[in-house]
């Protein structure tokens, strides 16, 4: 149980329209990720789903029931915040148990539920501490634990990993994926990081400026982007955008992923100069400045030596190219 439906949701703060008509269905048990650049309205949309913010227009349906007027606590959902938002005056155990206590669940049951959640996240030894005595990673695990304890229909995550360092981010990401498998609950996850989106999602919703640009499974978006925005946002390093005219291709822009751009010292379809080289061990990224196309990224597997300012030739693999019109829409 935990299907969500949004029908033409809009939201304005005074004169600024932040959400401009979002229609979306999230199936029961699905892991859905909202991804988009900072300020595109992801958090606002999530807060509308949670009931912390009223939509200016449109309907929110949970399991087919309209919940627009329902208080956040009555919507049977839990939310994990970027800033952890733990109650500073309560111990970890009380932080996790508060929602159940508010709902009138008995002490014994609350204790059992917090113990279960603590075990899932190995929080056992921390239960009697206060948030101030925990590290960032531990705090975020407690925040996730607090969400689990309620057994909600719907989990909402608002950039839960942004305040963690790189190693913890990967570990916590894997933990969230595991929780999703174990709990088989519906999860909506907001992030501006496309790697998190790609690795976690069953389905990704790409947002820009309060509008849904494309919805689809990670590989659908990667292999079949609807426009230049989605093509540029999904995949790392970013897709290269070349001028179609100079290549004799249709449309205005031709998109080539960095791994589909071939580099050579002898020959190719156009010339450029190496402006920077990044060696990552398993792969090498060569940044090449071309007179016509601007700065392009080439991704090579293994170790390669190119020196800055060296003249090189590039040849795009046209079989893997994407074509876009002048408005940025995909030509199929």
């Amino acid at each position: 149980m935990g299907a969500l439906e949004l029908k033409n949701i809009t939201k304005s703060f005074g004169a600024t329209d932040v959400i401009k008509g979002v229609d979306l269905t999230v199936k029961d048990g699905e892991f859905c990720v909202f991804v988009g650049p900072s300020g595109c309205g992801k958090s606002t949309l999530l807060r509308i789903i949670a009931g912390l913010e009223d939509a200016s227009a449109g309907d929110i349906l949970l399991d087919g029931k309209r919940v627009n007027e329902l208080a956040p606590a009555k919507r049977e959902l839990a939310m994990v915040f970027q800033s952890y938002a733990l109650y500073p005056h309560l111990t970890v155990r009380d932080n996790m148990g508060l929602a159940l206590k508010q709902a009138g669940v008995s002490k014994a049951e609350t204790r059992a539920a917090t113990d279960r959640a603590a075990e899932m996240l190995s929080l056992g030894p921390l239960m009697e501490r206060r948030p101030a005595e925990l590290s960032g990673g531990q705090r975020q695990r407690v925040a996730i634990g607090r969400a689990i304890v309620r057994r909600p229909k719907l989990f909402l995550f608002d950039e839960p990993l942004s305040n963690l360092d790189a190693a913890l981010r990967v570990a916590t990401r894997i933990e969230i994926a595991r929780l999703h498998r174990e709990l088989s609950a519906t999860m909506i996850y907001v992030t501006h990081d496309q790697v998190e989106a790609m690795t976690l999602a069953d389905r990704i919703v790409v947002l820009r400026g309060g509008v849904v640009e494309q919805v689809g499974a990670p590989m659908e978006l990667y292999n079949d982007p609807a426009n230049t925005f989605v093509a540029g946002f999904i995949g790392s390093p970013q897709m290269n955008f070349l001028k179609s005219g100079a290549l004799g291709q249709r449309g205005e822009t031709t998109g080539i992923r960095p791994e589909h751009l071939e580099i050579s010292r002898e020959s190719g379809s156009f010339e450029g100069r190496v402006s920077h080289v990044e060696k990552l061990g398993g792969e090498t990224l060569v940044y090449v400045r071309s007179e016509i196309h601007g700065l392009l990224t080439v991704r090579l597997f293994g170790e390669h030596s190119y020196s800055v300012d060296e003249a090189v030739w590039l040849s795009p693999d046209m079989g893997r190219a994407f074509h876009f019109d002048s408005a940025g829409l995909r030509l199929r």
Partner: protein, 278 residues
């Protein structure tokens, strides 16, 4: 402040602060030392410390003999504490509403409440007196508490609403999702986090109330409702002033404010360090 300040600047900063402290404490010091001297010694050399020859606690004896003085103290304490309670409670609640909820007229309401900072309440003395007479509150402590609450609220709301805007939205939202009422969110999540600001407001509110002579004189001059500052006036006559008693009364009047101040300032410092170490 940077962790490493040059030695010269540290000394300069301390010199300025010490000078200020001395200037600020000097009148208090003079009052206290003179309260322990005989009348002649006070006038002979006001800045001398009480010596075996000049020591005289007659001022304190006079104050104690005037049995009502304990009543005056009690009145002052009741009025100050009750007003402080009202200002902090209602001020914090209004500040929370103004900073947390978006409603029509929010900004206007904030400005209207801030207006009270700029307009001295004493301008309305006549109207206030008329109102108190009409409602039969003249010569009651309630009259003073009401007036002082009104006097303290504007600044309290102004300062506290600025502070409440800094309390994390996520924390309040987490509370809402967990089913806490807005009152619980206010009392158990927001208030503890703005404790330093509350302490600041408490100190700023308390001192003018304790020291006020104007409203006790106009609204509650009866024997049973006199405050300390008003009570001390009995020793100031048109022709003869009992300086020993006046100084002793003033010295005693310092003690309760000092105690209250120490309580709040400890809160203030605790609040500041708690935030810094987090």
């Amino acid at each position: 402040m940077s962790a490493r300040m040059s030695k010269g600047r540290t000394i300069a900063a301390h010199a300025v602060l010490l000078t200020y402290t001395l200037i600020a404490l000097f009148p208090v010091f003079v009052i206290v030392i003179n309260s322990f001297k005989s009348r002649k010694a006070i006038f002979a050399d006001p800045l001398a410390l009480p010596m075996p020859g000049t020591f005289d606690a007659v001022g304190y004896a006079t104050v104690m003999k005037q049995g009502d003085f304990f009543l005056y103290f009690q009145n002052s304490l009741i009025v100050t504490c009750a007003s402080l309670f009202c200002v902090l409670l209602f001020g914090a609640m209004a500040a929370f509403a103004l900073s947390e909820y978006r409603f029509r007229g929010n900004t206007l309401m904030g400005l209207y409440l801030a207006l009270g900072i700029m307009i001295p309440i004493r301008l309305g003395t006549v109207a206030i007196l008329e109102m108190m007479v009409a409602s039969g509150l003249v010569n009651t402590l309630t009259a003073l508490i009401l007036v002082y609450s009104a006097q303290g609220l504007p600044l309290a709301i102004f300062i506290l609403s600025e502070f409440m805007k800094t309390v994390s939205d996520d924390l309040k939202n987490a509370g809402r999702i967990d089913g806490l009422s807005e009152y619980r969110i206010f009392f158990s999540l927001v208030l503890p986090l703005v404790r330093p600001a509350m302490a600041t407001v408490a100190v700023f509110t308390m001192i003018p109330i304790w020291n006020d002579l104007w409203f006790p004189l106009i609204l509650a001059p009866a024997e049973s409702t006199k405050t300390v500052t008003l009570g001390a006036q009995v020793f100031i006559g048109q022709f003869v002033t009992n300086w020993n008693a006046v100084l002793a009364a003033l010295s005693l009047a310092i003690v309760p404010v000092l105690v209250l101040y120490l309580i709040f300032s400890r809160q203030l410092i605790r609040g500041i360090t708690a935030g810094a170490v987090k």
